[in-house]
Symmetry: C2
DNA sequence: AGTAACGTTAACGTTAACGTAAGGTCTTCC
DNA sequence: GGAAGACCTTACGTTAACGTTAACGTTACT
């Protein structure tokens, strides 16, 4: 171990994290601008990300993959309106999160429907393909 | 039945459909520009939507809710590159659709993870809230 | 201590997915 | 048949989520 290497307190630079999560450093900085993460800094002002920060980023990306906007995600994880008092803010986030959980359950069902839709489309395409092939060489 | 009312061949105007699906007529026209739907027209050039068109729109909206872009959706349902020959196009769409189906299965798992993440966030928030309340009135 | 590789902010550019406004056409209903 | 209301196209505006320079500071290595 060179110096600052302590298996539990693994930290990353912005580009390391970006590579791991397959996004750009710019994207990560952008999420910070939006108030979704706030990593600590080195004395030289460079960002340092902990495993927790990484987990949060993964959550953000997951949310994104389901079409949630960054603003929505910000509310879900309770980092919005940091100017109001904390109790009110936390209660707001809790309520928001509960709504989003319901939404997620809806989406589960919806996802199944999407799957069925796509399966139906596939069947039709396969059928049409067979017809065309029969036409081609009868 | 007044005249053109044939329970199976229900048709809709653009604004009727928009209201049903809770989107704007402009959005529907936009999807058409993108090649996602192609409703028939009246002699006077107005769009008429069938139940099939409606189902397709629902599919589009479902796809959107999961973060698929309109271009991706276009490929999934087999309406892209209408200039190449049909067999090739259909095969392309089939392959694309299969990939997307896999993606959907991944997302199922992912959605469960997102749910767990959010539940974890909720627990933390609740805990923090209790702390704050204990502080407030000890 | 020099320098390559990486990091920082600031500011402008880009793209997808519509919104909106203008000006004209259809349909419907009296 | 004429006015209201819905529909049409065209075209420019808007917003979210980054991408892309530019101009400069920091870290790591030799």
């Amino acid at each position: 171990m060179t110096s600052q290497e302590n298996r539990t307190k693994q930290t990353f630079t912005i580009s390391q994290l970006a590579a791991q999560l397959d996004i750009s450093p710019r994207a990560i900085r952008f999420y910070e601008e939006k108030g979704l993460i706030s990593p600590r800094r080195t004395p030289g002002n460079q960002r340092i990300y902990t495993a927790k920060d990484r987990a949060r980023l993964k959550l953000i990306l997951r949310g994104k993959r389901f079409g949630f906007s960054l603003d929505e995600i910000a509310e879900m994880i309770g980092m919005a309106d940091t100017d109001v008092d904390e109790v009110a803010q936390i209660e707001k986030s809790l309520a928001y999160g509960r709504r989003k959980l319901e939404e997620i359950r809806d989406r589960m069902r919806d996802l199944i429907l999407l799957e069925q839709d796509l399966l139906a489309v596939q069947k039709k395409l396969e059928k049409r393909l067979e017809e065309l092939k029969r036409e081609g060489k009868p």
